[in-house]
Symmetry: C2
Subunit: 198 residues, 2 copies
DNA sequence: TAATATAAATCAAACGTTTGTTTTAATCAA
DNA sequence: TTGATTAAAACAAACGTTTGATTTATATTA
C-alpha cells in the first residue's frame, strides 16, 4: 500500500509525525503537514479537530502499550536489577524502533509544552516504575546512590537522550545493533548504580 | 539595580532568557518578551535586528567561556579520569548556575532548530573534548565500552538531561547541593565507564 | 440492474488573529 | 534646538481554522 493509496487521515498522521520530529510542534505548520501528506489543509480540522489533536492522535496510534504494567512482569519488577534491565529494554526498544515518536515526545518535555499534561498519562507509569525499582534496590543494598533525584536523572538521561543530528559534525555514528545498544546501555546504568559484575 | 533601572537592552535579554526557557523559542513571541521587559516591541529589531539575534545575543552574554580549552587544563585532559571529572564539573556548573540558559540550549538541540548552526561553535568544543577523553581512556584500558556512539550518548545524556518540571508529578525534588550533585554524577559516569574504586 | 438518495471525503477560498518587523510620532535630555 | 530614545501605530506575511461547494463512495429504491 503506497502512501498515495492510504486514506488522508493516516497520511496526515505520518507526515505530522515526521515533521514534528524534524522541526518541533511549534516549528511545523498545518500547511506544511498537509502539503507533505498530499491533503487539503482543512482536513486537519475535519479529521482531528485541530493541530493539537493531531499530536494526541499520534500518541494514540503509535505510543506502545506499557509492558512494565503487564501482569507477567509483576515479579520481575520486584527484583531491582532485572527490573531495571526490563525498563531499559522497553524504553530503548521504543526509541530505536520509532525514533520519530521518541524525538517528538522528548521535544515536548524539553520545551515544557502545554501538551505535557496530556502526555503525562503515557509517561508517568514508566517514571513511577523506575523510581520504585531504584528505591527498592537502594533499600536492599544493591544500588548505591545518595540522591534519588540525581539517580533518576542519571538513568532517564542515559536512556532517553536521543541521537542528535547535531552530533554528526563531531563524529560518524557507528552501526551498532539494537541488541548491542541495549546491552551496552544496561551495562552503563547498572555499573553506574554500583552493581558489580555486570 | 532594579530591573526598571536597567537599560531596555538588558531587560529584554533577561526576559527573553526566561521565556525561551519556559516556552521555547518558537513558543515565545516578541510582544511577550517586551511586555515582560517593560519595553516597546519595536526595540527587539532596533537593538538586536530581530528575534533570532536575541537568541545569539544571549549566547554572547551568558554562555560561559570554555574552561576545557584553558592552557592550564591541557595536562588534565591527557588523563581520562581527571579529564572526565573536569568535563562533568564544568557542564554541571553551567547547568546549575544558569538553568535557563541550559534549558534553552537543550531545547534548541531537541527540536533540531535552524539556530543549531550558530550554536555549534559553542558546543562542539565540549563534545570534541569528551570524545577525545573517551578515546584515550579506552585505548589505555581505563574505560570499558564497545561503541563510542553509545558511550558519548551515555555521558552526555547523564550530564545534560535537565531537571524537568514534568517530574514534579512523580516525586518531590530533594535538596542536594551543587557539589553533591557533581560528586554523585561523576561517580555514576565513571562507574558506568568501568572505572573501579570510584 | 439502473436510477436515486444519502453520507463521507475533498477542495479552493476566505476567515479573523497573531506573527516579526517597520514606520511614524512623541518624548526627553543636553 | 538637536539628537537620541521610547511609545504607538501600521505593515505584509503566516498562522490555524471555517466555510460552502463539489466530488466520490455507499446505500436504497424501483
Amino acid at each position: 500500500m503506497s502512501q498515495s493509496e492510504m486514506d488522508a487521515k493516516m497520511r496526515i498522521l505520518l507526515a505530522a509525525k515526521q515533521l514534528f520530529a524534524e522541526q518541533g510542534f511549534d516549528g511545523t505548520s498545518v500547511r506544511q503537514i498537509c502539503e507533505k501528506a498530499g491533503a487539503n489543509s482543512s482536513l486537519i480540522s475535519y479529521y482531528f479537530g485541530g493541530k493539537e489533536n493531531v499530536f494526541f492522535a499520534l500518541l494514540d496510534q503509535f505510543y506502545p502499550t506499557n509492558k512494565l504494567g503487564d501482569p507477567e512482569n509483576i515479579e520481575i519488577l520486584k527484583h531491582p536489577v532485572e527490573g531495571v534491565k526490563l525498563f531499559i529494554r522497553e524504553v530503548l526498544r521504543f526509541k530505536l524502533t520509532d525514533p520519530e515518536m521518541h524525538i517528538m515526545i522528548h521535544q515536548e518535555i524539553a520545551i515544557r509544552s502545554p501538551r505535557i499534561e496530556g502526555l503525562k498519562p503515557y509517561l508517568i507509569p514508566y517514571w513511577e516504575a523506575l523510581k520504585g525499582l531504584l528505591e527498592r534496590g537502594k533499600k536492599e543494598g544493591i544500588f548505591q546512590f545518595d540522591s534519588m533525584d540525581t539517580a533518576l536523572s542519571f538513568v532517564m538521561g542515559t536512556v532517553i537522550f536521543p541521537k542528535s543530528n547535531f552530533l554528526e559534525t563531531v563524529y560518524e555514528h557507528d552501526q551498532t545493533s539494537m541488541e548491542g545498544i541495549i546491552e551496552e546501555t544496561t551495562r552503563f546504568v547498572l555499573r553506574g548504580l554500583g552493581v558489580k559484575e555486570v
